[in-house]
């Protein structure tokens, strides 16, 4: 197992724009040669959000094969940060060296190598910022990164969503740095990979009551990249509980490591449903179902009030939608963009959103850590909002987000889902317009 194989899907995504004169090995090497310094002081690592921001950033960078160095003090883990394990934060991050992608190291900063990029948490001090530097800050539901030298607040919140947003924004900048180092097929495509001086994303603030947050029963269809990112995010929410089933008949492949946030190198070959259920335990009680979801299954046991669908296969989404009687949340990726939508009974369904199968066949899908992560994070946010009775309004039923130039006004588009007359699910909403 080597990085070239593990980063196969990431390399495939780069192929959208990289020149044909560059070999896969060269693209892989370009990712592996990037040195990123992550810096934070004790104050910024003394909150759940600060620790979540750092661990998520390290995970996303490592899954791109990059070399991470840490300029952080040792501190206790405030909560588990799976798949990082251990009671101490720095030690567990250092122990993740080579665990996500072969050759992707996490080391303590020794100032011998000049970093290509620097990411600093909140208002942490930094000795040398001669390389391009971004500060990561945020609040409960929003995250921000900036190269400006203006004051960034320290991380203090318990709520982790904004922290993961800023980590994902930072990972996007690291990716664009690699793309800027590669020859592109078309010079004008550089516009997609220009660095953002400052960018932010806000999922929209809602109030959450203190105490245990029980999301109830949930069925998860697919234990792949999207739902692993969703569960990765939900595992970081304080006192969150849920239970249900995880359906997936697949086993972890080396090519999944570039994006499956709960998986590590030693998981290759293991059943995804089992892996996810065991990694989420004891916080979430999932029954692993090592099988594809089928209509027959829903006859044996009705689907849960919440269903999370991360499966790529569009007919499978229709099948789940036909069986669902509650809230269905679907997220997916398409090259550099994500699509995330929510479907409640009576509203336009996932068949209206994804009406016909993509006939590409079972070919390798181009993916990368931070894009899949955005898709999963968006799903996690929708799930929480529904569970606490604050779902997005109809005008935000669908989110199309391209997290490359988050500094641009149209990086994201919220929209309703439009019912279509030929909905393959034949949902109520589509039947209404047909008549």
């Amino acid at each position: 197992m080597n990085a070239l194989e593990q980063l196969g899907r990431t390399i495939l995504l780069c192929r959208d724009y990289s020149s044909d004169t560059v070999s896969d090995a060269q693209i892989c090497q370009r990712f592996q040669s990037v040195r990123v310094l992550c810096a934070a002081d004790k104050l910024n690592l003394s909150s759940r959000s600060g620790q979540t921001c750092l661990t998520t950033m390290v995970a996303l960078l490592s899954r791109m094969g990059m070399q991470v160095s840490l300029a952080i003090p040792e501190t206790s883990m405030i909560q588990q940060q799976l798949p990082f394990v251990g009671p101490l934060l720095r030690s567990s991050l250092l122990a993740s060296s080579n665990r996500f992608i072969a050759g992707a190291t996490v080391q303590q900063d020794d100032s011998r190598h000049k970093p290509d990029l620097i990411f600093v948490l909140g208002d942490s001090g930094i000795e040398d910022s001669s390389s391009p530097t971004w500060r990561l800050s945020g609040q409960e539901w929003c995250g921000r990164i900036t190269q400006e030298t203006t004051h960034a607040p320290s991380w203090a919140s318990d709520w982790p969503i904004g922290a993961m947003v800023s980590a994902a924004l930072a990972a996007g900048e690291a990716f664009k740095y690699v793309m800027r180092c590669l020859p592109l097929r078309n010079h004008e495509d550089h516009i997609f990979f220009e660095p953002s001086v400052a960018s932010n994303w806000d999922f929209g603030s809602i109030g959450i009551r203190e105490g245990e947050l029980d999301l109830g029963e949930v069925d998860i269809v697919s234990a792949g990249a999207i739902t692993q990112a969703t569960l990765y995010a939900l595992l970081r929410v304080p006192a969150l509980r849920m239970r249900g089933r995880v359906f997936d008949d697949d086993v972890t492949a080396a090519t999944n490591l570039n994006r499956n946030m709960l998986s590590v190198v030693s998981d290759v070959g293991s059943k995804k449903a089992l892996l996810v259920a065991s990694r989420c335990s004891p916080n979430f009680k999932f029954t692993p179902m090592h099988q594809r979801f089928s209509i027959e299954e829903s006859r044996v046991q009705e689907l849960a009030p919440y269903v999370l669908v991360g499966v790529d296969d569009i007919p499978s989404r229709w099948q789940v939608q036909r069986c669902a009687s509650g809230v269905l949340i679907v997220s997916g990726t398409s090259h550099f963009s994500i699509s995330s939508s929510c479907h409640v009974p009576g509203a336009p369904c996932s068949g209206c959103q994804h009406p016909v199968d993509d006939l590409g066949g079972p070919t390798a899908i181009p993916t990368i850590s931070f894009i899949s992560f955005w898709a999963g994070l968006a799903m996690a946010v929708r799930f929480i909002r529904h569970a606490v009775g604050a779902p997005y309004l109809v005008g935000r039923q669908h989110l199309w987000l391209t997290p490359l130039r988050m500094d641009q006004p149209h990086a994201a588009l919220w929209s309703p889902v439009v019912p279509i007359p030929n909905c393959p699910v034949g949902c109520l909403s589509s039947r209404r317009i047909s008549t």
């Binding site: 097929r185 016909v356 039923q397 199309w400 006004p409 149209h410 588009l413 929209s415 889902v417």
Partner: protein, 234 residues
């Protein structure tokens, strides 16, 4: 004073988060605007899968003019993949077509021979409103369409502005696409639909247990997961 409606104006098109202005003409087809946008963003891969979407989530119909599609000056449109295009749209099956298909296959095949029919419809739509039964040789193991009948068919189609939407044939037992079926579809165009009905079509009048595939750009057949992926009823 007369109000003047500008025929030429700019719209904003978003792709991968980047916005570019594209000049359009009110009488121009949306399909042409789409091509301009694809060229503006230098998209070379899978560009045929892209469509324009409004901010309200609706698809901008490509077969309309800019004016008829209601596109306004400075309107923001999203250029993104459209799975519908990958599927080349759904065939709209008129009432009675399926019953007529099974009737022809059963009468000709008599439960012991393979048989084929073609689903027909207007060239400019996805509607299927007719079934043609070719002159063919038949056996339990295959069928061969008469060359002369085929020539006549092409002439008829040209003069009537109709086309073959799908080929439907029977197999003795299980429904599958044989190597011969793969190699010799009556229409070798991307998106063409082939349906194989098991048991000489002696079973239920339904597409439930059939093999349904769509011809891909590379000449290979993609088996569809369900009839709904290719066909809807009207």
């Amino acid at each position: 004073m007369e109000s003047v409606v500008e025929r030429k104006f700019a719209v904003e098109i978003i792709y991968n988060g980047i916005t570019k202005k594209v000049e359009v003409d009110g009488e121009e087809q949306v399909a042409a605007v789409l091509q301009k946008a694809i060229a503006e963003f230098h998209i070379t891969q899978n560009s045929h899968l892209l469509s324009l979407y409004r901010q309200d989530g609706s698809l901008v119909p490509e077969n309309e003019s800019v004016e008829r599609a209601g596109i306004k000056p400075r309107e923001v449109l999203l250029l993104r993949p459209n799975a519908v295009k990958g599927g080349n749209g759904l065939l709209k099956l008129a009432s009675g077509v399926l019953q007529e298909t099974f009737r022809m296959l059963r009468v000709c095949g008599r439960g012991e021979c393979e048989c084929a029919v073609y689903w027909m419809g207007p060239s400019d739509s996805d509607l299927v409103n007719g079934v043609d039964h070719p002159l063919h040789q038949r056996s339990a193991f295959g069928y061969e369409v008469n060359d002369r009948w085929l020539t006549d068919l092409w002439n008829r189609l040209a003069s009537s502005r109709r086309s073959i939407k799908a080929q439907v044939h029977t197999h003795p037992g299980e429904a599958f696409h044989s190597a011969t079926d793969d190699t010799w579809p009556i229409v070798a165009q991307e998106g063409f639909i082939s349906i194989v009905i098991p048991d000489f079509a002696t079973g239920q009048v339904s597409l439930k247990n059939t093999w349904i595939g769509r011809l891909r750009e590379d000449g290979r057949w993609h088996r569809l997961g369900s009839p709904e992926q290719a066909i809807c009823r009207v």
